[in-house]
């Protein structure tokens, strides 16, 4: 029986990118539905009534929400190829911890870098760099957060790289100057087809953020 896989998403979302990378890693064919977040579809409101957010994976008619939950679901269902999670419970717990760290300590503060100004923005930039310095220390001398292989934590974080140009431009700072190992790691990830074919062009992301800033009245 062929699996029916649909992804409701938006091209610029780093959460959506996580799911697309996972699907690409596993070689899963799926239908992609681009969502206009300014004009949410009836489908989105039906499949994610609580958050009304993307990404949502619909597998054989059943919706799965929240990017890290979707990625774990994909890994568990299509468990015969390209494992994304470590096989042992302890490294698996560590992977979950660090992906959670990305959600708790990177996303909100990164958003503040492009939505705020002045002192608030300076504070956000400081926290942003601190979070990435912690991640750099965690990476250590390994090629990936998953060790020798690209895994769950790498996948959770790499989408943010496509937004770096936007953060640096609006925040007027260089992430490479502060966290060179993170940039080296990102470039290494980009050598993988699943990542290169998923991450959008950083200039396109920047243009999109320019529009979003206008909508939020940041200018």
């Amino acid at each position: 029986m062929a699996d029916e896989v649909v992804l409701v998403d938006t091209w610029v979302s780093m959460f959506g990118m996580r799911v697309r990378i996972a699907l690409a890693e596993k070689g899963i064919k799926y239908e992609y539905k681009e969502e206009d977040l300014c004009n949410k579809s009836k489908l989105l409101l039906k499949i994610n009534p609580i958050y009304k957010k993307i990404p949502v994976l619909i597998h054989n008619g059943k919706p799965v929400c929240e990017s890290l939950i979707i990625v774990q679901y994909i890994d568990e269902v299509w468990n015969d190829r390209s494992p994304l999670m470590p096989s042992d419970p302890y490294p698996r717990a560590c992977a979950r911890f660090w992906a959670d760290f990305v959600d708790k300590r990177v996303y909100d503060v990164a958003k503040k870098v492009w939505t705020t100004k002045g002192e608030e923005q300076e504070a956000a930039k400081k926290e942003f760099i601190e979070a990435f310095q912690i991640l750099e220390r965690q990476l250590g001398d390994h090629p990936y957060f998953g060790g020798e292989r690209f895994g769950f934590v790498d996948l959770s974080l790499i989408p943010f790289y496509s937004w770096f140009y936007a953060y640096e431009t609006f925040g007027n700072f260089s992430i490479e100057a502060e966290c060179p190992k993170i940039i080296a790691w990102a470039k290494r990830c980009l050598q993988k087809d699943s990542v290169a074919s998923t991450l959008p062009d950083e200039k396109k992301v920047y243009e999109c953020v320019v529009q979003m800033r206008k909508r939020f009245g940041v200018e």
Partner: protein, 231 residues
Amino acid sequence: MAKNDVKLLGVWASPFVMRARISLNIKSVNYEFLEETVGSKSELLLQSNPVHKKVPVLIHGDKPICESLVIVQYIDEVWTSGPSILSTDHYDRAIQRFWAAYLDDKWFPAMRRIRGAQGEERQELVDQVVEGLALLEEAFGKYSKGKAFFGGDQIGFIDIAFGSLLGWLRVTEKLGEVKLLDEAKTPGLVKWAESFCADAAVKSVMPETEKLIEFSKLLMAKMKGAPPPKN
């Protein structure tokens, strides 16, 4: 397994610590509970959770595991001879994780803020929490299939994630003078809460509401008396 092979760093009042304790009880794991002193952090805590410096931390052998839901899943995956906490069905697991994340990301943060809020903001928070309970009532009806728990006959992941928050829910109701869990609106959840608190894995680790109330008053007093934060 030797008792000192499993340690749990925690505080008695923390719902997140309770999640770990309930899970260890479900699996009949002997462990040493190391109570942190409120207001100070031990060397062991700072060493084993340098990133967040928070409880709970499970230390298995010499390996620290942090974040309550990560700990619960770890316990479930290591001690496989005991009853399962997460479903073996992939889709059901995704649903269980969804609701646990909802409780931590949306519902509990709104509930915590009720006591400190006033006027319109307070009403909005109360509405959010009550709306959340209606969603949870619906989920309970769907997943329990007429049994006592979200997990069916036995306590499962959603029961642990939600049940651990009941103590603080009651504190908010009492001190905030607001009814949140209402028999008229969410009869399923009211009955579920009784079953949960009476369960053998929960009873010994669920703090008494009166003690939590006292603790909460102390915390509020400390926060009010604390010097203003430096910018």
